[in-house]
């Protein structure tokens, strides 16, 4: 992992299109601004992991699971 140290209001660039700016630091919270093109999707790490885990479970359901779900939503 690349580790950079930045002060408040300093930025770094990821490639040509993405800028990440440290907007402010308060206690143990850091406020970060990200400028990126619309095709770059940005997520909080923990929600990304949660949805990814749900997707992986959801990707492998069977026809039996389909019938079970159908019973419940009918």
């Amino acid at each position: 992992m690349l580790v950079l140290t930045r002060k408040s209001e300093e930025a770094f660039r990821i490639g040509d299109d993405i800028t990440v700016t440290v907007l402010g630091i308060r206690g143990n919270q850091v406020q970060i601004g990200i400028s990126a093109p619309p095709e770059v999707r940005i997520y909080r790490g923990e929600i990304y992991e949660k949805i990814k885990a749900e997707n992986i479970v959801s990707s492998g359901l069977t026809k039996d699971d389909f019938s079970k779900i159908l019973e419940k939503v009918k």
Partner: protein, 128 residues
């Protein structure tokens, strides 16, 4: 026509215009970029089958099928990503799965599709 193999439904052949592109994939599946929505047994549920992986298919439904869960709010980032011009082009699908005896809908990660451009993205909804 596009022909591909699926593990649940055998070989499938669909018109090219039925392919929904997910340019950045779904979370955890960044390299699966083409899906087809399959009706199944005349039910309100559908399968969203990956064209590029026979084993990957999601059970999805219109959110209206599931009663009483309020509205889903999509961010401007989703609208921009889909290059959505008209509201009526937007289709939203929720993934469903079983968890023991319960059915769980993934309200955090609804699928948003521009049905005019046939492009989709998994939105990330952080509910308060």
């Amino acid at each position: 026509m596009v022909a591909f193999e699926t593990s649940r439904f055998g070989p499938i052949e669909v018109q090219e215009n039925r392919i929904i592109r997910f340019p950045v994939g779904l979370l955890g599946f960044p390299r699966l970029n083409r899906y087809v929505l399959l009706d199944y047994k005349d039910t309100p549920l559908k399968w969203l089958q990956a064209v590029e992986d026979p084993d990957v298919a999601f059970i999805v439904t219109d959110p209206k099928t599931i009663a009483g869960e309020g509205t889903i709010t999509l961010g401007d980032d989703v609208v921009r990503f889909l290059q959505l011009e008209r509201d009526e082009d937007l289709a939203v699908l929720l993934m469903l799965r079983v968890d023991g005896d319960k059915v769980v809908a993934n309200f955090n990660g609804p699928l948003a599709i521009n049905s005019n451009r046939m492009v989709g993205v998994q939105a990330v909804v952080e509910r308060a």
